[in-house]
Symmetry: C2
Subunit: 353 residues, 2 copies
DNA sequence: CTGTTAGCGCGTTCAC
DNA sequence: GTGAACGCGCTAACAG
């Protein structure tokens, strides 16, 4: 019995169903589209039976081709390894579900040319819109998308020269909140640690906000440390250098436990993890007695390690992004909007005195 | 400047290009499909120019409709929150990239009916194959997929009554490896902690392998503890009960630091995290002095916390899955294959004496 | 209420 | 070499 052509017994088409139900394709189509009030109960029953019998499932591709809309939206994620992204994704999925879209998730794995390829691929599949959280896309790359092309909304970061909706964290507020917390807890040497930030607006904003915040506290000193997570060698080198400086800074103070004066302020989760791993490895489980750590982003391990964090409203960010996109797809013409959501301080042992 | 989001200027079609190049659609199509040897260099140049000018991008949907193949494969993931899944995904993506597929990633967020919906959706989009890592799909749900339907390959777990290719961890070997390690380190009270395992083959196998392994070591006692991570209340309750028993077990021994006799063996990363969080919260940063922890899966935080783990060859698992699928799509008729990859022991402080 | 007709954008014979 | 015509599965007028 095994048909040599194996696999596909070629799925039933709308014509098959029509024939099986003894009617025309139109009626089937109408049935599928919920125009049931226009069908005689009798015909309707026959159609249902036929569909059931043939296990018919409409071909979305063909449907989209005809209609001009396929209900697909693209979601470009720079790094799924980052819990932040996954959380945003969950919001995106929920919203898609609610609004009837199917998200096409593309994971660029932190590679710029992958991002470009995916964007082009999405375009090729005629997605109705795109949600972008990328690290290297330039205005030019996004041109076919944002401007006169398909609607796009940016997540977490904006792109220079590109005017589109954006939704993300209120970086300024979050940074202020964190800085104030550290100062209030008595830390007076703050090191803001961040990945190269020239090209990522959110990082840039956080760094700027940090320096801005410091102006309010003349008694505390602050500096920015740049950490390149991509290159393992370079990372190790930077961390070692950082360590030496940290030793110096700490050594200059009272060695007692209650005397921690310096706090590391990680610009995001990955940075915090890199720092924590390094410090743990170098100073053992008690590393937190030497230096405080606070991070924007609230990954699962933060609670385990007792790290104070600024939790982002990730789910909402994703949800709002889809809502924005949906409006654009529906023809919304207003000028580009920004949606900045507030972060929440989760206080834990790492910054306690 | 900038029209806000002017409605789609309707993308150029193949006909547009043909007209622009002063030729017929056929030639364009040939050009696109690389049959360049059949085109006069002159025509070819005109086509290239036209495509460039119109920024033409072939419509994959239409293409797929006609060809019968759209190069789409579905990837159903039960839980993207689990780093394991993301790592597998990276392997899948790499393989897809290499083999020319576009993975349609569906995240079921641990909801069984979502899985069913997605599977149906994928079918509707006529994906050429599916990679499934789900938790609740039954043989029936997968029927249209595995058997006479589109090719499928299972990841990490198999489904009762469904014969398809599967790739995952060598659970037996990994569990043996871990158990032996614990015993060799001198632990003689082993608690295997696992989520409800009746319906998940990999968990079932690990639990069985654990009990099997114990038979080799008459001097050590072992038991299985079931942890339901889904329900927060129930989880807390179980953990508290577990704690009490742990107190008893530990109290019965010498309280000295070097005398740890009981080890927790987490069946996977999420379980390990739940355990670690709870113990940390209850006993503070020094919780590891009371009890050892070892886990299958090697999430990022494991190093930070100094947890000994069995790392799964996640990337390879994903990669192999796509390769299997590719062969099936290409008509491979052999009977269902299993690919069991070995785990690797990563020894860290948590199990040191 | 229902069937007929004409494409959606593209690939593919099959003639020229 | 090149292009016209047909059809993939489906929807949208347009009749009946």
């Amino acid at each position: 019995m095994s048909t040599p052509t194996s696999g596909a017994p070629r799925r039933a088409t709308i014509s098959d169903v029509a024939r099986e139900a003894g009617t025309g394709k139109t009626s089937i189509s109408r049935y599928l589209n919920g125009e049931l009030s226009v069908l005689s109960p009798q015909l309707r029953a026959r159609i249902e039976a036929a569909i059931e019998r043939l296990d018919y499932q409409p071909n979305q591709m063909a449907r989209g081709l005809k209609r001009g809309r396929n209900r697909l939206i693209g979601m470009l994620v720079a790094d799924l390894t980052n819990p932040y992204s996954v959380e945003v994704l969950q919001g995106v999925e929920a919203a898609c579900h609610a609004l009837g879209y199917m998200p096409l998730i593309c994971h660029a794995a932190n590679e710029v040319d992958m991002e470009r390829r995916f964007l082009q691929l999405l375009t090729t599949y005629r997605v109705e819109g795109v949600i972008v959280n990328a690290l290297g896309v330039s205005e030019e790359t996004l041109r076919p998308v944002g401007g006169g092309g398909i609607p796009a909304v940016l997540v977490d970061r904006s792109v220079d020269g590109l005017v589109t909706d954006m939704v993300g964290l209120d970086n300024e507020g979050a940074t202020m909140l964190a800085t104030r917390h550290l100062v209030e807890r008595g830390f007076d040497r703050l090191w803001f640690v961040v990945q190269p930030f020239e090209h990522i607006s959110s990082r840039r904003q956080r760094e700027a906000a940090f320096r801005q915040a410091l102006k309010q506290y003349p008694q505390v000193s602050g500096r920015t440390v740049v950490l390149e997570l991509g290159d393992a060698d370079e990372l190790a080198q930077t961390l070692n250098a950082l360590d030496a400086e940290l030793d110096a800074a700490i050594g200059a103070q009272a060695p007692g436990e209650g005397a921690r004066h310096v706090a590391l302020f990680a610009a995001n989760g990955p940075v915090a993890l890199a720092l924590a791993r390094h410090l743990h490895q170098r100073h053992g489980p008690d590393w937190q007695k030497r230096v405080a750590l606070l991070s924007i982003d609230d990954p699962e391990w933060a609670e385990l390690a007792g790290i104070t964090t600024i939790r982002q409203p990730t789910y909402d960010i994703g949800y709002r992004a889809v809502e924005f996109l949906h409006q654009r797809i529906d023809g919304e013409q207003s000028s580009a909007r920004d949606c900045l959501l507030p972060g929440e301080l989760i206080e834990r042992a790492s910054t306690a005195r």
